[in-house]
């Protein structure tokens, strides 16, 4: 009991050092619990949603599949259930809104009894009358649409009035991207609507035809076992896609997010708790060294090593436990906010916004164990001393192998004070390494995070100012004769320039490596689409003998300039050999490029266009005209796209700020705690120097020189670490943001900013050291027996 009281008083005496450890642990546990709970809730809610609403195992899309062919699909061995649907994209004209708004109409079979595959969550009336529709909640909410309202849409150039009778969300659109080119869900410009299959067939004039098929598999069957047979049935009907649930766009995004957040919630607390454990270890080691005589006294009384060790472990247990509880508390306060952020992008029913007790307990356990480990290793050496030894002052620290012996040139340049700094580093190698690694972490985080917003903005600017210089791109439902496409576009009001391109999905193979990409055929004189790499080097005209690959695609194929790759088009099963002429790095596009004429030559096809790019001085007029145009599937307005992207980046900026603050906080916590401990160890030396006649500034120079050397080492290590971090971030972005990447090179100024950030932490810490050195009472320090 008395030892417990001693522990409490000792902790109180060094309260600020313990507070900093508690905050480090709390930060780690906060992330562990808040992000872990968010990822767990997202995963659990998604899995429950998929199960309850019967998300299909396999998805296929085709141009038109006659109803008569469905039985052939149902007969495939391994297919349990087939759902055939019609889907189409409708434009939603909203007065006063200049954005292009799309509604994906999905047929719903009202005659089906029971829960069909991909069953939506419905809230409202059944689809009984003609042109009744269920809208997804987010779309209805943002456009202020309610049950009972009418909604006008344009389908194939025809205005159709729909009656909103209910709201419905789909397990297929948890993360509702319109297509693979979108980076994040925009609830304003893309919505989902369910409509009775008879009505949709009538509106599309496609009776007994389907373009969207979903399958559930019998137990024990895999996608690979049915893939070939489905392909065989659907290929004659223009199959455009066949994939399993794991590759379904929304499913993939949810899965990637859960994986990344779980990974982050697993690594960040390890980092923070690890740092806290090391700080605690150093701090306790120092406190115990100061209490050496007390340990000796306790031992002479008869306290066992175990009792004394447990006493000091109590310090770590206390720190860890409090840190864990504070972390869980902070996590609990913020998990609701994090879940709310998620629900901006992920539409899921019944998502929990509390920390599960098990996770909270795990967090507290991790924190407590880190505290105990730090305390155990800090206390163990001093506790092992025999009582007589403990009562004596420790012998001067031994210098093993003088580092300056091996650096004679350095020794010549240094004063005695400089030598002290160098040998201080040598004397406390582990702590010095810890400081350098701490600075490395902070430097890395700051170097990657500080330029991120600017890098992203630059990418957007580069994309829209240099590459896609058109005002709008009209993607066509069916390819048309190239000359006609441009001529027709030029007739539209306000259009001042029009150019066409041909985009074709292809599969590329190099040896046994395969990947898919979109091959863009560009005319030699292209003005509206340019091929620039990240260094703004232009690659036009496209060489007329081969293709240009994006570096990501080239990496997938392990291809180099000059490699011969095999290309498979959707028009022919036969592989076409083609040479890679160049490899370029582009951050926001993932096309492969080919000369327009060469593309048609190798495919042996008439010259067609799949998209028209235009310059216009009247976007509104262009959009209104296109409402009447049947063959345009998508209009991409570059201004709106850029604006949307910037909006999304702004929503990420708070996260970036948190990371920047954490980065600086780590640096400060490590440097400050280490220098406090170091000062406490060296106060006798510094007091001696003061007695010798050194000014405060001169004494500080010894400590500062040591820390600046470690700072330089930390920054040097920080450069490769930042690059490693960037590459990790790129992998994460590629998974979460549909192929988006950030420049592989960190700008020099960002390294400067990171160095400045760490320097600020150093200066703060040095100022604090200066204050302590200035306050050293020479008489007290020198009469103290170490």
């Amino acid at each position: 009991m008395i030892l417990f009281l001693k522990a409490i008083r000792s902790i109180w005496r060094h309260k600020w050092a313990y507070v900093s450890c508690i905050m480090l642990i709390a930060a780690g546990i906060f992330m562990y619990t808040a992000m872990g709970a968010a990822a767990g809730a997202l995963d659990a809610a998604a899995q429950k949603y998929y199960k309850n609403n019967r998300l299909a195992d396999v998805f296929a899309t085709a141009v038109n599949v006659p109803g008569s062919e469905l039985s052939a699909l149902e007969r495939i061995d391994g297919i349990n259930e087939l759902q055939a649907r019609l889907t189409c994209e409708a434009r939603v004209p909203v007065s006063g809104n200049s954005k292009i708004i799309w509604l994906r109409l999905i047929s719903f079979d009202t005659d089906y009894e029971g829960v069909s595959l991909n069953y939506p969550d419905i809230n409202g009336l059944p689809l009984e009358k003609q042109n009744d529709i269920w809208l997804n909640h987010q779309f209805a909410e943002i456009h202020n649409l309610q049950i009972g309202d009418k909604l006008s849409v344009i389908i194939d150039g025809r205005f159709v009035e729909l009656n909103i009778v209910g709201l419905a969300n789909s397990p297929e659109y948890v993360y509702a991207l319109r297509d693979a080119t979108e980076i994040y869900p925009d609830r304003e410009t893309f919505g989902i609507g369910y409509i009775n299959i008879r009505d949709l067939a009538q509106l599309l004039n496609s009776p007994n035809m389907y373009n969207d098929l979903s399958f559930s598999l019998e137990n024990g069957f895999t996608f690979d076992e049915v893939k070939q047979q489905i392909e065989t049935v659907l290929e004659p009907f223009g199959m455009t896609g066949l994939y399993e649930a794991a590759d379904q766009m929304s499913y993939t995004m949810v899965d990637a997010e859960v994986t990344n957040v779980k990974a982050m919630s697993g690594t960040m607390p390890l980092l923070f708790s690890g740092i806290a454990a090391i700080v605690l270890f150093m701090m306790l080691k120092r406190i115990i060294e100061q209490e050496r005589t007390q340990i000796g006294t306790l031992k002479t009384f008869g306290y066992t090593n175990r009792e004394i060790l447990l006493h000091y472990i109590l310090y770590g247990l206390f720190t860890g436990l409090i840190g864990g509880i504070v972390g869980v508390g902070l996590g609990n306060l913020s998990v609701e906010y994090i879940i709310r952020l998620y629900t901006e992008f992920f539409t899921l029913p019944d998502i929990s916004n509390t920390i599960p007790p098990q996770l909270a307990l795990q967090g507290i356990a991790i924190a407590t164990i880190s505290g105990i480990i730090g305390a155990y290793f800090g206390a163990r050496p001093a506790v092992k001393l025999n009582p007589a030894e403990a009562m004596r002052p420790p012998s001067p620290p031994e210098i093993k192998g003088d580092i300056l012996k091996y650096l004679p040139f350095v020794r010549v340049l240094l004063t005695s004070r400089g030598s002290m700094s160098i040998r201080n580093i040598q004397r406390t190698k582990a702590r010095s390494l810890f400081i350098a690694v701490g600075i490395m972490f902070s430097f890395g985080i700051l170097a990657v995070m500080s330029p991120l917003m600017i890098m992203m903005t630059d990418i957007i600017m580069a994309k829209y100012q240099y590459i896609e210089v058109f005002d709008a791109k009209l993607s066509l439902k069916q390819p048309v004769a190239a000359a006609d496409a441009a001529a027709q576009a030029m007739k539209l009001s306000g259009v001042t320039m029009a150019e066409f391109v041909r985009e074709t999905p292809v599969e590329l193979r190099n040896g046994n490596l395969k990947t898919g990409t979109v091959l863009m055929g560009i005319k030699p004189g292209s003005y509206l689409y340019n091929i620039y790499d990240d260094d703004k080097k232009i690659y036009l005209p496209v060489p007329d003998k081969g293709i240009i690959l994006n570096s990501f695609t080239a990496d997938d194929l392990n291809a180099r300039p000059g490699s011969k790759v095999m290309l498979t088009s959707p028009f022919d099963d036969e592989e076409i050999p083609i040479y890679v002429q160049d490899i370029i790095h582009q951050n926001m596009t993932s096309y492969a490029y080919i000369d327009y004429d060469l593309l048609h030559e190798i495919f042996n096809q008439p010259k067609l266009a799949t998209a028209v790019m235009v310059m216009t001085n009247d976007m509104e007029s262009l959009k209104s005209k296109l409402d009447e145009t049947k063959n345009v599937s998508t209009i991409t307005d570059t201004y709106t796209s850029a604006e949307n992207f910037m909006e999304m980046m702004n929503s990420y900026s708070s996260m970036l700020w948190i990371m920047l603050i954490l980065g600086s906080a780590i640096a400060f916590a490590i440097i400050y705690n280490s220098s406090t401990i170091s000062l406490s160890e060296k106060k006798r030396e510094y007091a001696t120097l003061r007695v010798l006649g050194l000014h405060i500034k001169e004494v500080c120079e010894i400590s500062n020189f040591e820390y600046w050397l470690l700072y330089a080492l930390g920054c040097l290590l920080g450069v490769p670490f930042a690059n490693l971090l960037l590459s990790g971030l790129n992998t994460m972005l590629a998974q979460e943001m549909n192929g988006l990447s950030i420049p592989a090179r960190i700008p020099l100024w960002a390294f400067g900013a990171a160095a400045a950030g760490c320097m600020a932490a150093m200066i703060l810490s040095n100022l604090s050291s200066k204050k302590t050195i200035g306050k050293l009472d020479m008489v007290d320090v020198l009469k103290e027996r170490e």
Binding site: P397, E398, T415, T688, G693, E786
Partner: protein, 242 residues
């Protein structure tokens, strides 16, 4: 006669009505109660007294590492009692050398570097190699404190203190942590410095034996100078016994 002897010597430092109070919680401890004495150029002074008599306090005040509550310290005609920290540091840097009971060598500097550390502070520094020679550790200049005995460490500490060539060498129980024969070696070294460089040496100790080698002895008791004696024939350090 003693006064006549003293009046012939130059006063280097004069202590006038020095008092020093410490606050220990609510208790005020009077460490010095109005001390007066002079230190002469080139003398070997021993300050004797039991624990708590105020001898360490007065040494710290003379050395410029502590300040009196009241009174004056006149060093070469200038009152240093009210100096600011910066000027006190200058005073310590140029005028005073300190030798401590527990040596206080910098553990990560070699013997030679510890001496250099002090010599770098003075434009009038003594030769580091000569000093190493004088203390008999010329072949151990590259050793770190942890590689030396207590006596060797104290010799390095003395060399470090004199390296700046200070006017006064202040020694706080310099033999307190040493055995007899090592203590004698240290005292010989202090005497050598006193004679060879004609510098003032002031030693505080509770070891009455050392007083036999002093030119003058101040006896402290309850924060006051109780007695001052002059040795007409100070003994050689080798003859000192305790």
């Amino acid at each position: 006669m003693k006064d006549a002897l003293n009046s012939q010597r130059e006063v280097i430092l004069s202590i006038e009505d020095i008092t020093k109070e410490y606050h220990m919680g609510e208790i005020i401890v009077q460490a010095l109660r109005g001390v007066n004495f002079k230190i002469y150029q080139g003398e070997f002074l021993v300050i004797l007294g039991p624990s708590g008599s105020g001898k360490s306090t007065v040494l710290n005040i003379i050395g410029g590492i502590d300040q009196p509550t009241a009174g004056k310290i006149i060093y070469k005609g200038k009152d240093i009692s009210g100096l600011k920290e910066k000027d006190l540091t200058k005073y310590r840097r140029s005028s005073v050398g300190f030798v401590f009971q527990f040596y206080n060598l910098i553990p990560n500097l070699t013997a030679k570097e510890n001496i250099q550390l002090a010599s770098e502070l003075s434009s009038n520094a003594l030769s580091v190699s000569d000093l190493l020679e004088t203390i008999g550790l010329a072949d151990r200049g590259g050793h770190f404190p942890s590689q030396m005995s207590g006596g060797q460490q104290q010799r390095v500490a003395i060399a470090r203190a004199v390296a700046k060539n200070p006017e006064i060498l202040l020694c706080d129980e310099p033999t307190g942590a040493l055995d007899f024969s090592t203590g004698i070696q240290v005292l010989k070294l202090l005497k050598e410095f006193n004679k060879k460089y004609k510098r003032t040496v002031a030693i505080i100790t509770h070891n009455a034996g050392i007083s036999e080698m002093a030119d003058r002895v101040l006896y402290f008791k309850d924060g006051l100078v109780d007695l001052v004696t002059v040795n007409d024939n100070p003994v050689d350090p080798e003859e000192v016994r305790w």
